[in-house]
C-alpha cells in the first residue's frame, strides 16, 4: 500500500466522525436558520423565510441584554483571573518549601464538574445559612440575612463572576507558571550586571516574556466563558429576571423552551461566527507578540 493510502486509513475515521457530528449539524443549523421551523411541531412544513431571523435578532432587545450580560461576565472574569492567576504564579515561582503540594491543592476546583459544583454554590450563597454570607459577616459585620447573592439584581452578576474566578484562576496560574519557568536565569543575571533595578527587571524582562503565555490563557478562558452555560445555569438559571442570562442560556430558552428552532439556529450561527472571528483575530495578534 502507498503511504498516502495508509495515512488516510489512520486519519479518515476521525475526520468522518467529526463530519457526521460537527460539520453536518453545522450545515443543518445554517439551513434551519433560514426557516421558521419549530422542533416541537415536526409535521408542520417549515417555511423558507430567508434572512428574516437574522434581521429580527439584531433588533431583539433580549438578545442585546444577554450580550451585555456576557460582556460583563467575560470582562470581569478575565481581569480577575489574569491578575490573581499571575500574582499566584509569581509567588509560587519563588519556590518556597511545599510549593508543589499547595499548587496541586489550588488546581483542584478547575477539574470539577461546573454544573455539580455550581449547584452546591447555591447552598453557600443562601442568605441565612450560607457559608459565603457567614464569611462576609465574619469579616465585615454585614448582617448575613440582609443580602442574597443570587436573588438580587445588583449582586447576581457578581455571584457568577466570583464562582467562575474561584474555579478558573488556577488555569491562568498554571499557564503563567509555565511562562515564568521558561525564562532562563541568565537573563536576570545579565540585567543584574547592568544594575537594572528589580522593578525594571520585572517590567522589561518578566512581563514581556510571560505575555505570550498570558495571552494564550486569555484566549482559552475567553472562548470558554463566551460559551459559558453549565455553571451559570445551575447557579442562577439566568435570573433574577434576566440579569445573568448569558448568550448560551438565551439560546437554550429560544431553542428548547420557546421551541423557536429556526430563530435559535440563526442566533447560534451568529454566536459561532463571533467566537470564530474574534479568536482568529486574537490568534494573529498572539503570533505577532510571540515573534517579537
Amino acid at each position: 500500500m502507498s503511504d498516502r493510502a495508509i495515512a488516510w486509513i489512520f486519519v479518515a475515521p476521525s475526520i468522518f466522525l467529526l463530519l457526521a457530528i460537527n460539520i453536518f449539524p453545522l450545515i443543518w443549523t445554517i439551513r434551519l436558520s433560514l426557516t421558521d421551523f419549530r422542533a416541537n411541531r415536526p409535521n408542520r412544513p417549515a417555511e423558507w423565510i430567508g434572512i428574516e431571523n437574522y434581521r429580527r435578532i439584531l433588533g431583539d432587545g433580549d438578545i442585546w441584554n444577554s450580550m451585555q450580560a456576557t460582556a460583563h461576565f467575560l470582562f470581569w472574569t478575565l481581569i480577575l483571573q489574569v491578575v490573581i492567576g499571575f500574582a499566584l504564579a509569581y509567588l509560587i515561582n519563588k519556590k518556597f518549601r511545599g510549593s508543589d503540594l499547595w499548587t496541586t491543592l489550588i488546581v483542584l476546583p478547575m477539574m470539577l464538574s461546573p454544573a455539580v459544583v455550581g449547584n452546591f454554590w447555591t447552598f453557600f450563597y443562601q442568605p441565612q445559612i450560607g457559608l459565603f454570607n457567614y464569611v462576609v459577616e465574619f469579616f465585615s459585620g454585614v448582617d448575613p440575612s440582609s443580602f442574597t447573592m443570587i436573588g438580587s439584581v445588583d449582586l447576581a452578576p457578581w455571584a457568577i463572576v466570583i464562582v467562575d474566578t474561584w474555579m478558573w484562576t488556577p488555569f491562568v496560574m498554571l499557564i503563567c507558571l509555565a511562562g515564568l519557568r521558561s525564562i532562563p536565569d541568565s537573563i536576570y543575571e545579565a540585567a543584574e550586571c547592568d544594575r537594572a533595578s528589580k522593578w525594571r527587571q520585572f517590567w522589561t524582562i518578566t512581563i514581556p516574556l510571560v505575555l505570550p503565555f498570558l495571552m494564550l490563557a486569555v484566549l482559552f478562558r475567553g472562548i470558554e466563558n463566551f460559551k459559558m452555560f453549565d455553571l451559570v445555569v445551575q447557579l442562577t438559571g439566568g435570573g433574577p429576571g434576566s440579569t445573568t442570562e448569558l448568550t448560551s442560556i438565551t439560546l437554550k430558552r429560544e431553542a428548547f423552551e420557546k421551541w423557536r428552532t429556526g430563530y435559535a439556529s440563526a442566533y447560534a450561527v451568529i454566536l459561532f461566527v463571533t467566537v470564530f472571528g474574534l479568536a482568529s483575530i486574537y490568534v494573529k495578534a498572539l503570533n505577532k507578540v510571540k515573534e517579537r
Binding site: 500500500m1 495508509i6 489550588i106 477539574m111 454544573a115 509555565a178 463566551f226
Partner: protein, 311 residues
C-alpha cells in the same frame, strides 16, 4: 560560598509561601465544606453560624441512595425491629425505606458513557494523531485547525441539530448516542494531545522496525504504541474527566434511561431540601476527579491547553 543574584531571599520565600498557602486554604474551603456537609444531619447542615464541629452521621448517604415514605406509628410498630442499620437510621424520623433512589443508576450511566466515549476517542484519536504526526497529508494544518475549531462552538448551538438528528435516528436518550457525541467532542483534545506525545517519539525507532521487515501497521502497533503509553494514559484521563463533567448535552439530550449524574444531582434538592444528601451525591461524584487530578499533576498543563504549553 557561591552567590546567585537570582536566588530568592528566605524572607521573600516566607512571604510568598504565606500568601499562597492562605489562598489555597480559602480555595479548598468550599470543597472541604461539601465533603463535611455530606456527614451532617439536615439540621446541622443549615445551622447558623455554620457548624465546624459536629457529630458525623451517614444519614446523607442513606438518603441519597433510598427513597423514603412517612409511616404512621402503627405501621412502624407493626414492622417490629429494623432489619438493617440503614433501616434504623430512617426509622428515627418516622419513615420507612420504600426503594432505591435513582442515584446509583445515574452514576452508572456516567461510568458507562464516560468510559465508552473515552475508549472510542482514544482509539480514533491515536490513529489520527499517528497519521498527522508521521505522514504528509494534504492540507494538514487546515485539517488540524478544523479539528480544533469544533471545540469553539457553544454546546447549545451544536445541540439543536443533534437533537433533531438523534430524534430521527432513534438515538435520543440512549447510551450509544451520548457515547458518539462525547467521542466527537473529545476527539479534538485527543488528536491534539496525542499528536504532541507521538511527535516526541524519535522516528528512528520505526525506521529501524521497517527495515527489519515490519509493516507500517506492525511498526505502529509494536513500536509506537508502547512508547506512547504514558501519553495515551494521561490523554484518556482528560477525556474521561471531560465526559464525566459534561452537563449541557446531557441535560438537553437525555432525560431518563441514559441520564448522567450532572443533570441528576441538582434535582436531588427538589425532593426535600436535604442538603446532606446533595453533598453526599456531590462528594461521590467529585472525589474520583480529585484523585485523578492529583495523579495527573505533571501533565495537567499540557492537557488543559490542548498541548499548546508543554513545560
Amino acid at each position: 560560598m557561591s552567590y546567585s543574584v537570582t536566588e530568592t531571599s528566605t524572607r521573600q520565600k516566607w512571604i510568598a509561601g504565606t500568601v499562597v498557602v492562605g489562598y489555597a486554604l480559602v480555595t479548598i474551603l468550599p470543597l472541604v465544606w461539601i465533603i463535611a456537609t455530606g456527614f451532617k444531619t439536615p439540621s446541622d447542615a443549615i445551622a447558623y453560624p455554620p457548624k465546624v464541629i459536629f457529630e458525623p452521621t451517614v444519614e446523607g448517604y442513606v438518603n441519597l441512595f433510598t427513597t423514603r415514605t412517612r409511616a404512621t406509628q402503627e405501621t412502624l410498630d407493626a414492622l417490629g425491629e429494623p432489619a438493617t442499620w440503614y433501616d434504623a437510621i430512617v426509622r428515627q424520623y418516622g419513615m420507612i425505606i420504600s426503594g432505591p433512589s435513582r442515584y446509583g443508576e445515574r452514576f452508572l450511566n456516567s461510568v458507562i458513557i464516560g468510559f465508552g466515549s473515552t475508549f472510542l476517542s482514544i482509539c480514533l484519536g491515536t490513529l489520527a494523531a499517528y497519521g498527522f504526526s508521521r505522514f504528509k497529508i494534504p492540507l494538514k494544518d487546515d485539517l488540524l485547525f478544523f479539528i480544533l475549531s469544533t471545540r469553539m462552538m457553544p454546546p447549545i448551538a451544536v445541540a439543536i441539530p443533534i437533537f433533531l438528528m438523534y430524534r430521527r435516528l432513534g438515538l435520543s436518550d440512549t447510551h450509544l448516542g451520548m457515547i458518539f457525541l462525547y467521542t466527537a467532542v473529545n476527539l479534538s483534545l485527543a488528536v491534539w494531545l496525542l499528536k504532541g506525545f507521538i511527535d516526541e517519539i524519535p522516528i528512528e525507532y520505526e525506521e529501524a522496525a521497517l527495515i527489519d521487515g515490519y509493516t507500517r501497521f506492525q511498526a505502529f502497533y509494536k513500536v509506537v504504541l508502547p512508547q506512547a503509553a504514558t501519553g495515551i494514559a494521561s490523554t484518556a484521563i482528560f477525556c474521561l474527566i471531560f465526559a464525566w463533567n459534561e452537563y449541557a448535552f446531557a441535560v438537553l439530550l437525555t432525560s431518563g434511561t441514559a441520564q448522567t449524574a450532572p443533570p441528576f444531582i441538582p434535582t436531588i434538592i427538589g425532593i426535600g431540601k436535604d442538603w446532606p444528601a446533595v453533598a453526599a451525591g456531590t462528594t461521590l461524584f467529585l472525589v474520583p476527579v480529585m484523585v485523578f487530578t492529583i495523579l495527573l499533576r505533571k501533565h495537567l498543563l499540557r492537557g488543559i491547553t490542548f498541548g499548546a504549553v508543554r513545560k
